[in-house]
Structures are given as C-alpha cells and as structure tokens.
Amino acid sequence: LVSNVHGKVIIINDDWCNGCLECAVACSIVHTGDIALDRAHIMVCKTGEERFVPLTCHHCETPSCVRACPTKACHQDLESQRVLIDPNRCIGCRSCVTACPFGHAHYDEVARISTKCDYCDGAPECEKICETHAIRYVSADEVSQPAKRGAGLVRAAVRLRGRRATTAGG
C-alpha cells in the first residue's frame, strides 16, 4: 500500500509481482548481512490463486506499535514520517508485534529484537531490485487517490484470502 517518508510513498501493484522474492532477499541482505527470508522486513504473501503480494509497513499516522511500546524504542520520526524501532532500546517484549493490526512488525529470533520496515533511510532496496516494477517508490503527489486505493485494495484482498506461505516473515 502506501508509506510516507520524505514525501515519497511505496506503492505495490501485485498484478506485476511474480513472486521471485528478490525484494525479500535484498531486504534481508541489507538489514542482516545474510540471505534469511524470515528476517527480511518485507513479507511476500502467496494466495491460493498463485498470486503474490509484497507487504511493507504502513507507517501509520497513529501507530498502534508506538502506543504499545513500553520503552519508547518504537517511535515515530517526525521529520521523515517513518515509524522506526531503535535496536539499542528495544528489549524484545514483542508488544509491537501483538499491537500492529496489519501484522507487520515481527520478532527477529536471531537478533532477538523486534524489527520492521524502515524504508532503508529513503532508498528502499526492494524497489531498486524489483525487475517487474511491482514495487515503486514515488512522490506522494504523483500518486492519485484512486491509484493508491486500487493498489491498496488489491493487496488487501490478497492478504485477506491468502496466507504467508513463501514469506519472509513466515
């Protein structure tokens, strides 16, 4: 769907996603230094119709994860409009994992902290590597409301029906 950072948003068109998982591989390499799909911050859902939908954090305006975090490790960066988790302050209580209505934040069993999509500081690797351009990182002004809604609805429908089979988050 859509996330804000420096006035730019990620939009996902699942019609173009072929389920190659390169986005998840790139994400895990950038964030963990290893190819570990279960540690990637982007999750690729697979539906019964053999459709694939990459899922990232929505960076909500009023994030449930931030409200639930007891240590303020999960916080909202006002400048970039991102919701971030400070790895040095996260105690791994998993409150954010339970609180996120979209099931995005997840607990990294290796790093033993909660992690989530941080938009790679404004240059998402998933978008760079996506050959089919199913993931795009564009200015919010360039995205019309119907396009946002359409992209969101398609992805949402798949999420509703589908299960996280091939994903990175397991």
Partner: protein
C-alpha cells in the same frame, strides 16, 4: 504466608525478564511510556507490589509486634501494598484487552459496550489461584512443622474458594458466550476454544481442572478440612489457571482491518455496489 507473595511475584518477574530479547538488561526502562502503554503501567504496578510487599515482609520479620501496631507508616505501607496487589492481579487482563485489534480479547458484557470481561475473568482467576497457593503453602507448612495454627485459615479459604469458583465459572460462561456472538474473528476464536484445536485444553484444563474438580473437592471438604483433598484442589486450580491463560492467548486472532473488508466486498460486487460500512473507514 500471605506476606511471602511478593517474593513469589519477584521470582515470576525474573522469568519475564528471561523471556526478553537481546537488551534484556534494559528491563528497567519498561516503564518509560506509561502514557499509552499498558505494559509500562504494568511494570510500575508490579514493581510497586514487589517493593511494598517486601517492605511489609521485612517489617513483619524484624520489627517487634508491639512496635508494628504503633507505627502508622507500617499500616500505610500495608494499605498501599494491598492496592498494588489488586493492581497486579487485574492488570494482565487489561494489558491483553488493550490489543483492540483482537476481538476475542475485547469481549464485553454487552456487545460493543459495557464492562470488559477479560480483566474481570483474570482478576477472579488470580484471586482463586492466589488463595489456593496460600492454602497449599499452609498445607505444606502443617505437614512439615505439625503446627495446626493455620487450620482456621484453611477452612476460611475453602469457603472463599467456592464463592470465587462460582463467580469465575459465571464470568467465563458469559465471556465465551459473548465471544461466540461477537465479530467473525471472535466467533472463530470461540470455535477454536470449544470445538477446535484448543478444545481439550479448554474442557479438561480450564473447565475440569480450574473449575469443576476444585469445586467438587472444596464442597466435599467443607466440614472435613482434609489436607490431602485441599492440596489436590489447590494443585488443580493452579494448573487450570495456567491453562486458562495459555488458552486465552492461544485463541487470539487479529481482526481484518475495515479497508481489507471493503476490498473483499468490492471483489464480490464488481458492479460498483456501494460499500455499506464506509463509516468504518475512519479508523
């Protein structure tokens, strides 16, 4: 016996710390966000209970009885300790219920309004398991020392436990009933509990061990005060209480966000039939 409770709570709290992740040693920062986080509030409540309870215990052990009765500060500490103990008993339910996206944890007395039932259920269960823990301690104490001074206490706990079990059964029935009548995810949770993957743990662990078995044993034991019967009932309640918490956590299913439901509707009605619940999109 009751005064040793804070030490048991401290031992339990250390298990919570063990469950944390890489930065476990920063556990003391868990109270930094009390404005919005129930976990932070719970941290403060639990810490208060342990500190106040230990203070009361130290006073009881080291200060002579005549001096205790004249010390106002000791009474104030005791009163605050009782408040913190009740807070500790009820906050877990509130913490779980604060996850508003999980309908099974947000069941109320009346649909969409009224008293939240989960905190009430957890409070009753905490009182029930706590009193049975004391009873078990008293039984062991008598067995080891042969001192019969706690026999009156055991008889009183027996009666109290029967009342608590009846109340807990009533709240649990209401909770499961309202869950079945609630949102689709809540109804699915209820199905998991009653007939699905959690049915054995629910019927045997919760209904059997936490409610039925101790109730029967307590009623049988009313005039007898048999230590063995009381001990079996206590173990049964403690095991059942743990299974109850496990089952409640296990059946939690996140609600499908309204936007997702709208998408499903539009897929099912491709001819632009208006979505009937646009108000829901305000979330």
């Amino acid at each position: 016996l009751v005064l040793w409770g804070p030490l048991v709570a401290a031992a339990g709290a250390s298990l919570l710390i063990l469950h944390l992740g890489r930065n476990w040693y920063l556990f003391f920062t868990a109270g930094r966000n009390p404005r919005t986080s129930w976990l932070a509030r719970g941290f403060s409540i639990l810490l208060s209970f342990i500190v106040l309870g230990c203070a009361v215990l130290l006073v009881d052990v080291f200060v002579p009885a005549w001096a205790q009765s004249h010390a106002v500060i000791a009474h104030v500490t005791e009163a605050l300790g009782v408040i913190a103990a009740l807070g500790t008993a009820i906050y877990t339910g509130i913490l779980i219920q604060s996850n508003t996206w999980i309908p099974a944890w947000n069941v109320r007395l009346r649909p969409a309004s009224g008293l939240p039932l989960l905190p009430a259920l957890f409070l009753l269960s905490a009182l029930s398991t706590g009193s049975m823990g004391v009873l078990m301690g008293a039984s062991v104490h008598r067995l080891v020392t042969g001192n019969a001074s706690a026999d009156d206490l055991m008889g009183a706990i027996d009666v109290l436990e029967i009342v608590l079990l009846v109340l807990e059964a009533a709240v649990l029935t209401l909770y499961v009933r309202n869950m079945r009548l609630g949102k689709p995810e809540a109804a699915l949770s209820a199905q998991m509990l009653l007939r699905g993957a959690w049915r054995l743990r629910f019927w045997i662990g919760v209904v059997g061990a936490a409610l039925a078995v101790p109730f029967i044993l307590d009623v049988v034991n009313l005039g007898l005060s048999q230590r063995v019967i009381a001990g079996v009932a206590a173990v049964s309640v403690l095991v059942g209480g743990a299974v109850l918490r496990l089952a409640i956590l296990g059946i939690g299913i996140k609600e499908t966000p309204p936007l997702y439901r709208r998408s499903e509707w539009q897929r099912a009605h491709p001819r632009q039939v208006p979505w009937p619940c646009d108000d829901e999109l305000r979330w």
